[in-house]
Symmetry: C3
Subunit: 332 residues, 3 copies
């Protein structure tokens, strides 16, 4: 497609020669002649100008360029729109590898693709256009919505429910027993874990992440939620719509998180808390109390980010002036 | 069973109509008419009263209720006892799926259930009533005690030993090489990891948790230990009986932990430490020194919890009054 | 071999009877008569003297012993050299288990060993002497260098590249999509993740560790890098040669780390940072800024380790003397 055609696709304004043909998209570092890249600020634009890209998708405020530009509101989003236009995922035809073990009572929709060594248990229901890659295991009575993609070596425990268009990366485990015990004298008894794990639509879950089933009630992952690799979602947790959880974060039992919140990487959230909507929890934080809607917290333990930063600054000041301070205060 | 019969089962006292039939057990949120739930305090009791449950198992001190109650010492434990009475796990008959690959030299006990695509190596010994779910791999010379349950996609490296009644959730890896190297000039050499990983009786290990084999000696997980999801137990670690390790916690090489200790979530413990019995390590802590029996620690780095809380309070006070403080101290 | 022969092998000096036959190597705790162990300091030497070992490999400065010694510069390295001399890994013959599913277009080198239920996709290239253990999945167009060893239940996504002599432990996932999204109003769009994950030579990657593919560019793991269990390496990260990353550490998107650095356990490093060579990041740290070559940092957030330790000491002092301090400062 020509630059001018791509510009029309994303409602952008061309600066420079709009007749050049674009053959593909690429990041700044790897762009070749004939490819389109994007730059969200002046610095990136400078990098992009030195690249081999033939056209740069950028925003409306940055400087002019010797390369042809397409100016848009949100270059990253426009890049994505162009990418998706040029790369429509091809639907796979119905397929079942002869080594897959599929229970007779399982009900499969149209165009379901089942790879080698997949195991599908009794009573499983699978929607249309679902792809289940090699060596994944779907235990009995799971329900998988349409257009889900399950990568290799995933495990879904019995009764797990996935909505539509869910992506599960390799090593994901959904529906394992939660960590629930009763201590009595010298013995630890396992408490029943009989709830389900229910995942909404348009959810993506990163490699080796674990989501436990509920103990008596259910664990619920809202639609649009994105969870990164190696996260742990404990039993009975409820996560609202479009909330994002970055790598290595863990949410303890029965905690409830609202919509559109952002949990950065390596965060731990204690059990039985209420975390609001539009909350941001900074990376590495340990959350031990409730968080109200819209709050931004950080730290060990997590507190309002301004407070945390101020405390760090005060401590640094104290350490710097400690000689004077300790003399002035001369305790005992 | 009638309420009065259930009460007898757990040594409880009925308050209200003991003749009502109970058909099942449920959490407060999901209880239906005819079901029994439990409440450990006044607040939960109020929730339970508003539920559809027909009977509430509760403790001896909370208020009376319009619903029938069974009063006991430990409602959660009694709930568990009733649950286990009503839900005796059915023993599976001996089974070997035709796609499983089992070495001829492997020795299997009675009623061993082996799912599709399981791989059992040479010289493996498996006790009675063991269940190995699909796609798990047991490498050569492992020994698995009776009544163990291994969920799908688990890996046991060669020579791993499991006691009786061990539960391994999906994605667990036991016996992988520890992280041991020798640096010499510009090269890093791998140090031999020839010990075993030995797991005691009644241990449960959460999804995607890893337990490394010993380097020269063995890694030992004591009986009754419960380890949550995504934990890392390094080479040569020894964990005593009935110790609990919550999600995302990691224990570094050669550290020894005593009995009945509780390691909360997202804790890191450095290598070569001695952690006592009945210790509690608060969530998110980084432990860099030994901990004596019975101590409760928390923080980065972990210190006695009172000290940690006091330091946090002092820092908060300093930051709040920093204007005055910085003027009074006027360093320089 | 005789003690004197072993000493010659590592350029060491014998103290005591060099004619004793050594049949094997062992750690101090587990050594039997006829075995050699090693001790790196006086304390370990005392332990080793009380062991059943028949000879101790130790350094040049520690005291004399009643047991025969071999004195060398680096006892651990010498132990390793002897170990490797006595334990040459046997090359496996070419093998393909009949249950493995190998694409016709895959190209395999000499002596490739492919276990049960392994899946190898279209266009995959595998070098000589590679071992792929049961139930691992290698998706299309991956390239695997010679002498790699892939343990069970590993997943390599399409286009992943491994150098020579790479060891991947069970549950490793390389090449999954990175965590990249564009938010627009109420919707979160998945950003294309079309780069590769490229791993150099002599790399070892621990159980259940995840390395994401690049988004537009590639994720690069340098030669000689060692990564422990349960680590997360995000999209576009670049790690230099011989850098070590311990368990539970996570490196966020596009961060670059130099050569020979040490990232201790449970460290989180934020995105888009530049971490130098020969850096040490202490355990549990959260890194939120660049780190220069050779720096040693620790803390939440990470700062120069001396500064961190001083601040901890000052805070402790303040808390200890808070009664006096708060009276002297009497704010308000």
């Amino acid at each position: 497609m020509k630059i001018s055609e791509l510009a029309r696709l994303v409602g952008g304004i061309v600066e420079g020669n709009g007749d050049i043909e674009i053959k593909g998209l690429a990041g700044i570092e790897s762009a070749s002649p004939g490819e389109l890249t994007f730059a969200t600020d002046e610095e990136n634009l400078s990098h992009a100008e030195r690249s081999k890209a033939s056209c740069i998708l950028t925003n409306k405020t940055v400087k002019a360029s010797k390369k042809p530009l397409i100016r848009v509101e949100n270059p990253k989003l426009s890049f994505l729109i162009i990418y998706n236009t040029l790369n429509t995922p091809k639907v796979r035809e119905a397929f079942r590898h002869p080594t897959a073990v599929v229970a007779e009572s399982a009900r499969l929709g149209k165009n379901v693709w089942i790879g080698p060594h997949v195991v599908i248990g009794d009573g499983v229901e699978i929607g249309d256009n679902v792809i289940i890659e090699p060596n994944s295991v779907v235990m009995k009575n799971c329900r998988i919505g349409s257009t889900c993609r399950i990568y290799p070596n995933v495990t879904l425990y019995a009764n797990t429910v996935l909505g539509r268009n869910v992506i599960l990366h390799s090593g994901v485990v959904i529906g394992a027993d939660g960590f629930g015990y009763v201590r009595d004298k010298d013995k630890i008894y396992k408490f029943p874990q009989t709830g389900k794990a229910i995942v909404g639509d348009d959810v993506e879950i990163g490699a080796n992440t674990t989501i436990d089933r509920g103990s008596m009630n259910d664990t619920m992952i809202g639609s649009g939620v994105k969870i990164d690799n190696l996260c742990q979602i404990a039993h009975n947790v409820k996560i609202g719509k479009n909330t994002i959880v970055a790598g290595h974060s863990g949410i303890s039992g029965s905690t409830v998180i609202g919509d559109n919140s952002t949990i950065a990487g390596k965060v731990g959230i204690a059990d039985n808390l209420t975390i609001g909507s539009n909350v941001i929890v900074g990376g590495g934080s340990s959350v031990i109390g409730d968080i109200r809607d819209g709050e931004v917290v950080w730290g060990f333990p997590a507190r309002p980010i301004r407070e945390m930063k101020r405390q760090l600054a005060v401590l640094s000041w104290m350490a710097k002036h400690f000689k004077v301070i300790s003399r002035l205060l001369k305790p005992e």
